[in-house]
C-alpha cells in the first residue's frame, strides 16, 4: 500500500461508542471503518460535484427520497 501518515482523532463518548458498535457490526477495526467512511463520503461528494443527486430507495415500496446534502 502507499506510504501512510498517522493522525489523532478526538471523538465524543457517543461518537466513540457509535464507532465501536459499527466496527463490530461491520467486522472491521476502527481504523478501517474510518477509511471506508472516507471513501463513501468522497464517492457521494464526487456525485454531487458532478451535479447528480443521491437518492435512498425503499426496497419494499420502491419509494425514493433524496438525500439532501446541500
Amino acid at each position: 500500500m502507499a506510504e501512510k501518515r498517522t493522525m489523532t482523532l478526538n471523538l465524543t463518548d457517543a461518537e466513540m461508542d457509535a464507532l465501536e458498535e459499527l466496527a463490530v457490526k461491520k467486522d472491521l477495526n476502527k481504523t478501517v471503518l474510518i477509511r471506508q467512511a472516507l471513501r463513501l463520503y468522497q464517492m457521494v461528494d464526487q456525485r454531487l460535484r458532478e451535479g447528480k443527486k443521491v437518492f435512498i430507495e425503499d426496497e419494499m415500496t420502491k419509494a425514493k427520497s433524496e438525500l439532501m446534502l446541500l
Binding site: 500500500m1 502507499a2 456525485r47 458532478e50 447528480k52 443521491v54
Partner: protein
C-alpha cells in the same frame, strides 16, 4: 499495494481455466447516472458544448503539431484524460486540466472553463458559435484549410467574449 501469488499455486491450477471465459461486470449498470453519466440523462446543450470543447482541444493540439502525449506533457496534465476529453462529450474535464491547457494553448482560463461546460454562464452568441464549430470540425490530422478557418473564427468569438468582461 503489493500482491504475493505463489508460483506453485498458480501453476498447479491454471489448467482448471482451460477453455473458460472469465469476464465479469455490467456495463449498463456502471453507465447509469450514479456512475458514468448516460448521454440520455445529460443536458443536450452541455453535451454539445463539451463536443465543441473536445474538438477545440484536438484542433489546437494539431495546430501546434503535438501528439496527445506531447500536449499532456507541455500542459502538465493527464494524457488519458486528454484522450477522453477529445473523444467523449459525456466526460466532464477536471478543472486543473482545463487550467493547464489554458496556459499552454494561450486561451484565457475563464473562457476555456466555460467552453468545457464547467461554468453555467454562456452567451447566446457563444453557444451558436460552439454549435457551428462542432459541426465543422473533423478529426483528421493535420488541419485542413477549412478547419484552420473554423478554428480562427471560433477563437475570435472566444477572445471577443473574453475582452468584453
Amino acid at each position: 499495494m503489493k500482491v504475493h501469488i505463489p508460483k506453485d499455486w498458480l501453476l498447479s491450477r491454471d489448467h482448471l481455466e482451460e477453455g473458460l471465459a472469465i469476464g465479469a461486470g455490467s456495463p449498463r449498470r456502471f453507465a447509469q447516472p450514479d456512475a458514468i453519466p448516460s448521454p440520455v440523462s445529460e443536458d443536450v446543450t452541455l453535451i454539445e458544448q463539451r463536443l465543441s470543447f473536445g474538438r477545440f482541444i484536438s484542433l489546437m493540439r494539431r495546430k501546434y503539431g503535438w501528439t496527445t502525449q506531447q500536449l499532456a506533457e507541455n500542459a502538465e496534465v493527464d494524457a488519458g484524460e486528454l484522450l477522453v476529453i477529445e473523444n467523449d462529450p459525456r466526460h466532464e474535464a477536471e478543472l486543473s486540466t482545463v487550467h493547464g491547457l489554458s496556459k499552454v494553448l494561450k486561451v484565457p482560463a475563464k473562457r476555456l472553463i466555460k467552453m468545457a461546460g464547467l461554468a453555467t454562464e454562456r452567451s447566446e452568441k457563444f453557444a451558436q458559435a460552439s454549435l457551428r464549430f462542432a459541426a465543422s470540425a473533423e478529426s483528421v490530422a493535420p488541419l485542413t484549410g477549412d478547419e484552420e478557418e473554423a478554428l480562427q473564427t471560433y477563437l475570435k468569438v472566444v477572445m471577443d467574449e473574453t475582452d468584453k468582461k
